[in-house]
Amino acid sequence: MAITRRTFLKRAALSGVTAATLLSGANKVAAQAVYQQEYATTIDLTKCDGCPHLDTPGCVAACRTKNQPRFPQPEKPIGDYWPQTIHEDWSDKQHITNRLTPYNWTYVQHLEVEHQGLLMEVHVPRRCMHCDNPPCSGLCPFGVNNKTPEGAVVIDTDICFGGAKCRDVCPWEIPQRQAGVGLYKEVAPKYAGGGVMYKCDMCIDLIQEGKEPACVSACPNQAITFGPKDEMRTYARSWAADNQGYIYGDQENGGTSSFYLSKIPFESINQAIKEREVDGKPGRPTMEVGVKNPLDEPENFAKAFVMAPVAGLLAAGLSVYKTMQGEEKHEDTEA
């Protein structure tokens, strides 16, 4: 509860600062500071071998070590999501590294993909793609899942209510839920909310210190590279052109900050994921090529919001004119 109140105060102070900045006319400086630099990663699937010599792939182990202090500590017993008779509790399965969980924010899919008549081994590190226009963030009913100026999509775990809507609207169902923790416990835990959602935050704290994400540094094959988004995108595209390869994440969901590079078409990789990985539960994301951003459709409706007031004004003008004309006629005949 103390954390919650502090966060509210922090936000209140923050909004005050924003208002003051705008009022003092210093917003130009602030804007420059805010829109400084977006970062991205490329993940070269021709280099990733899934770390066969290790129990846990390097990136996964590094992610777990780095984020350990932030893993949920639920109080037990944990109640069900009334009237349902389920709740999502991963606290006894923290050791699991073969899927995304609240305790495992990245994992490597080990696949056998048929390509040009050959069966190829492919290893795909999976985690949040950090979308350009993230539906998870845009549709969060509490506005506590935000994209930072660095391009990282970050969930505020202090205020998250754990409704898991972000997972439902994510094309890859990335955020994972842990029950028994978070703000919902202070309100009406039986009837509303379900815990806290956890996912990769691009190691935003490290980025802000000028360092690279933990998974990038940990990769023994330099399969994951990190840098300014423009550079990463340019590199990915030129790599694909030079190697007759494919990119995943450049167009998907309207663009992301993760560029997977492969010489095998992602249609084949996705097929293999569906056959070998997907088990009907969240945490085993597919790789559908060209997946659409669910926010693209409502965007068209947004144009209606420009039209609506204009139409209202015109229609009212007509009604007022008619009413007044009726009145004038009335008065004219009087005179």
């Binding site: 506005g143 809507k165 003008g317 007022v320 009145e327």
Partner: protein, 280 residues
């Protein structure tokens, strides 16, 4: 005898607003992940309710309708100078008096077209709708591709939107509960037909009838059915049949014998007070 209380424009605004707000509340609550959890999507015909993108699209359409009708209404009120729904000084005190009268602790004060409590309730609803529209527009804007709003703007627009949703739901419940009170019920049909019993108006809204330009208002909102009513009244008052042309030009004057429910229809020979002032 019945008189016109709500013209067609007002009734249109009321029902379009009600419809759009109902849809907005249903689809808006659907943005909280509750319909699947509470098995609402298991109800036949409501399978779509737990699909966030379907409910979001419907929410957007209904929001555009609400914005349209709000701007339409606001412009119409200003354009035709209908301010009788806005709160006035002393409305809080008067509302308390009205509530006291319901339980027999006081005599109900004389009312104009709307009761003091109606004017206050309108203001709460209107302000809620306005804030919901503004915060909603921020929420739409920040979801457009290429727009990066600040963390605090996103947080506060979401929180204020949620808060006023519940204030609006509360004010709608109060609005509907008002019709549990028997004395308010004759007002219900007036929002469908526009008309209300004169006897009821005389008992509860005498100040409305007494308003200097009220006769004019009633005359200007003439509709054929009312003209029939008027001519019937005129006939019963011994004036003989009047032709339609004359009636539409006529002013209804509430004479002293209003208590006897007799209305005198005379051809206009006096100008409304407002007009007279301008001329002098």
């Amino acid at each position: 005898m019945k008189i016109l209380r709500h013209n067609l424009v007002i009734r249109f605004v009321h029902w379009i607003t009600a419809l759009s707000i109902f849809i907005l509340i249903f689809t808006g609550l659907g943005q909280m992940p509750v319909y699947r959890r509470y098995n609402v999507d298991q109800i036949p015909g409501l399978g779509w309710s737990s699909d966030f993108l379907i409910t979001l699209n419907i929410h957007y359409i209904a929001a555009a309708v609400l914005i349209f009708i709000s701007i339409y209404y606001l412009t119409y009120l200003i354009g035709t100078r209908r301010f009788d729904i806005l709160p006035q000084r002393g409305d809080v005190k008067e509302s308390i008096k009205i509530f006291a009268s319901m339980v027999g602790l006081a005599e109900e004060p004389q009312n104009s077209k709307y009761l003091a409590e109606q004017r206050l309730a309108f203001m709460v609803t209107a302000v809620s709708v306005l804030i919901l529209i503004l915060t909603g527009l921020i929420k739409v804007y920040k979801n457009l591709p290429g727009v990066d709003a600040s963390v605090s703007l996103i947080f506060w627009s979401a929180m204020i939107h949620n808060l006023f949703t519940f204030i609006l739901i509360f004010s709608i419940i109060v609005h509907l509960l008002a019709f549990l009170i028997k004395d308010n019920r004759p007002l219900v049909p007036s929002m469908f037909t526009g008309k209300i019993d004169l006897a009821y108006v005389q008992r509860r809204h005498q100040l409305w009838l007494d308003e200097p330009n009220n006769n004019k208002t009633m005359g200007k909102e003439a509709d054929p059915s009312k003209e029939e009513n008027l001519s019937r009244t005129a006939e019963s008052a011994g004036y003989g049949p009047l032709d339609r042309k004359n009636i539409s030009q006529s002013e209804i004057i509430l004479a002293d014998d209003v208590r006897k429910n007799i209305y005198t229809l005379i051809p206009p020979c006096t100008k409304p007070k407002k007009r007279a002032k301008i001329n002098t």
